[in-house]
């Protein structure tokens, strides 16, 4: 048995003129929680559908546990899908919905009853078997969709924005529940979402997609701390961008000519964006001693935004405004609008990124 659950090699999908998925290479490990993250229309759902067999690639190879899927129809693939709008059969009870996949596989009746019972209890819907989908809340429908897929004991479960229709509180609860379920069952989850927080919370690894291309694959921390392109930095979390020119290895030059130290990836002379996360920035009063080794730019507090647990300062540094985030905690200094400050950060927290 292969350790790679799903493997895409050079997968491209074109719909007449539009290239929805562009040369994607990807390996998803056995038992891994993998998220495909990106804005709507980035090709993440199409990628998932090609694994499910609901769409066939224009070219490239999709392998599941080493086996080439080619043009194999969905009913002959060892994966199951949880659909975006659940796609529960409205004319069937919860029991019949969950039993559907087993009935199609001609599993004996007694075993179906047994397995449906286990699956329904797994998603904590015991006693709801005779209800119709329309009689269930959104959260319950979502659990039925999950049970309907899991009852087949797939080795890979595909989830297409499964929590998109739920409200915030329920979504957060389901995130934890899904992650626990995945760990308990030990199967691979391929999870499509446009919600970066959801992806960061649950995933072992994340693949960020944009305009059909897989831009970066990595663990949540890696993606957040070391985005490799401006798009990834912008899409995941909040980022300030300062236009710079790479001056040399580990050094960039601001528009006004001042040089600061930063993590660089490209040759001197290249235009880049210096990405600075708001929470990595700190503010010092003028004349205050800035610890050695920090980059420091003078600026003026233009706005102070109060958010309860935190505060944002919008600091004008030359022509750019930079947002800096601070905990609203005892001992954290606070600043007034109009105050002259020094905006400081560690060199390793600023990455000069190309587009």
């Amino acid at each position: 048995m292969s350790d790679i659950a799903v493997e895409l090699t050079g997968v491209t999908k074109r719909f007449s003129e539009v290239t929805a998925v562009d040369q994607v290479d990807l390996q998803i490990g056995d038992g891994e929680f993998f998220s495909l993250l990106g804005p709507s229309g980035c090709g993440k759902t199409t990628t998932l559908r090609m694994v499910a067999g609901l769409e066939f690639p224009t070219e490239g190879s999709v392998r599941i546990y080493g086996e080439e899927m080619g043009l194999r129809p969905p009913n002959k693939r060892p994966v199951n899908t949880v659909f975006q709008s659940y796609a529960l059969f409205p004319h069937m009870t919860v029991f019949r919905n969950v039993a559907f996949g087993l009935e199609m596989q001609r599993i004996p009746k007694a075993e179906i009853a047994e397995r449906v019972k286990t699956a329904v209890e797994l998603v904590r819907l015991g006693g709801m078997e005779q209800r119709r989908p329309a009689q269930l809340s959104g959260g319950q429908q979502q659990r039925v969709a999950l049970a309907r897929a899991l009852v087949n004991q797939p080795r890979v479960l595909l989830l297409d924005e499964p929590l998109g229709a739920l409200d915030l509180k329920l979504r957060q609860a389901m995130q934890v529940e899904l992650k626990e379920l995945q760990q308990r069952l030990g199967i691979s989850f391929v999870y499509v979402t446009h919600d970066q927080e959801e992806a960061l919370t649950m995933s072992d690894r994340i693949g960020v997609m944009h305009q059909g291309k897989l831009l970066q694959v990595g663990a949540p921390e890696e993606i957040y701390e070391h985005p490799r392109t401006r798009f990834v930095a912008d899409f995941i979390g909040e980022t300030n961008f300062v236009p710079v020119t790479v001056a040399g290895e580990g050094e960039v030059r601001l528009p006004d000519g001042e040089a600061v130290r930063a993590v660089t990836h490209s040759a001197p002379g290249t235009e880049a964006s210096l990405a600075l996360r708001p929470e990595k920035l700190s503010l010092y009063r003028q004349r205050e001693d800035v610890p050695a080794g920090l980059n420091c730019l003078p600026g003026v507090v233009r706005r102070r935004v109060y958010l309860g647990s935190s505060l944002y300062y919008h600091v004008d540094v030359g022509p750019t405004t930079i947002r800096s985030r601070h905990e609203n905690a005892p001992g954290v200094p606070q600043f007034a609008e109009g105050e002259k400050v020094c905006l400081a950060w560690e060199a390793s927290a600023g990455e000069a990124l190309g587009d």
Binding site: A52, L54, P74, T81, Q84, P90, H91, G101, R148, N152
Partner: protein, 301 residues
């Protein structure tokens, strides 16, 4: 409670339960007014004539063909069980059933095809389905006489492939062809409407859950398009059962259907009580059948 004018209801005072109730009542009164022309039409042109028919069906035909009201009896109802009458009913029933089944068999795949095309082609195909309505139905049925006639194109084709002296016109087959032709759009339209509304992700879900194409159709597409099947079946069966033009133009003396038979009672033999009894019983049977069918159809969805 006193009726309040609209102006009174809209004066800027705080709302009390009485005011709120008044507004709700005014709302439902407006709803009734909107429906009034429809109600009036149905009462004058449907309920009243039905009542007249009902009363006439208990009358007697005089020797001169006049209807004698007053000497109420059930003679007309007894005659419904005459062999000849039962024969006409039986022929109407099976022709209508055959029409419905053939229409359904042709229309379902066609409606499915239309509903799964792109928006452009879909619009074009729907127009093609409607085009026959632009020509008078009578004219179109006459056209079938030419097609089915002894020297018509169909007969030519049949004799070419070896059928000797094909006789099409004035047979049950001719009526059936005419009925299927005439009712096809009425089957296609409701089927198209319900298939087009279908949530295709349900079919994908079925495929994902190990159903092959046929199983996914049987378990998901077909049950969810049952409203269209029920609607189309009723729109086809009922008018076929009482069809008049097709059997008149395409059928012969041996192929009488209920529509012509009832017409004969009123005009040819002036037996209004019998015609009325026939009409009334058929109406009642149709109504009962439709209600039953809707109930069953409703359950499968």
């Amino acid at each position: 409670m006193a009726r309040r004018s609209k102006a009174a209801l809209e004066t800027a005072t705080a709302v009390t339960p009485e005011l709120e109730q008044g507004a709700t009542r005014a709302e439902s009164r407006r709803g009734f007014l909107l429906a009034l022309p429809g109600y009036a039409y149905l009462v004058i042109f449907f309920a009243v004539p039905m009542l007249i028919i009902f009363v006439y069906s208990f009358g007697t035909r005089s020797a001169t063909g006049k209807t004698i009201l007053g000497d109420w009896n059930l003679e007309s109802y007894r005659r419904l069980f005459d062999d000849f009458v039962l024969g006409v009913m039986w022929r109407s029933l099976w022709l209508a059933l055959a029409t419905t089944v053939i229409c359904l068999a042709i229309s379902y795949p066609f409606a499915y095809y239309i509903a799964t095309r792109g928006p452009r082609l879909r619009g074009l195909l729907m127009v093609l389905v409607m085009i026959p309505f632009w020509t008078n139905f009578l004219v179109r049925t006459y056209a079938w006489r030419l097609i089915l006639g002894r020297n018509g194109p169909l007969a030519a084709v049949l004799s070419f492939v070896g059928v000797d002296q094909p006789r099409l016109l004035f047979t049950n087959t001719a009526i059936l062809i005419g009925l299927v032709y005439g009712h096809l759009p009425f089957m296609v339209l409701p089927l198209y409407a319900s298939i087009e509304r279908l949530d295709w992700s349900l079919v994908e879900a079925a495929r994902d859950l190990y159903a092959n194409g046929w199983k996914a159709f049987r378990k998901v597409t077909l049950p969810l398009s049952m409203p269209g099947v029920v609607g189309g079946t009723i729109l086809t069966f009922i008018p076929s059962f009482g069809a008049y033009i097709e059997p008149e133009l395409l059928g012969g003396a041996q192929t009488m259907m209920l529509g012509s038979f009832i017409e004969n009672q009123y005009y040819a033999v002036s037996d209004w009580p019998f015609g009325s009894a026939l009409s009334f019983v058929i109406m009642a049977l149709m109504l009962a059948g439709t209600i039953l069918y809707f109930r069953r159809g409703g359950r499968t969805v």
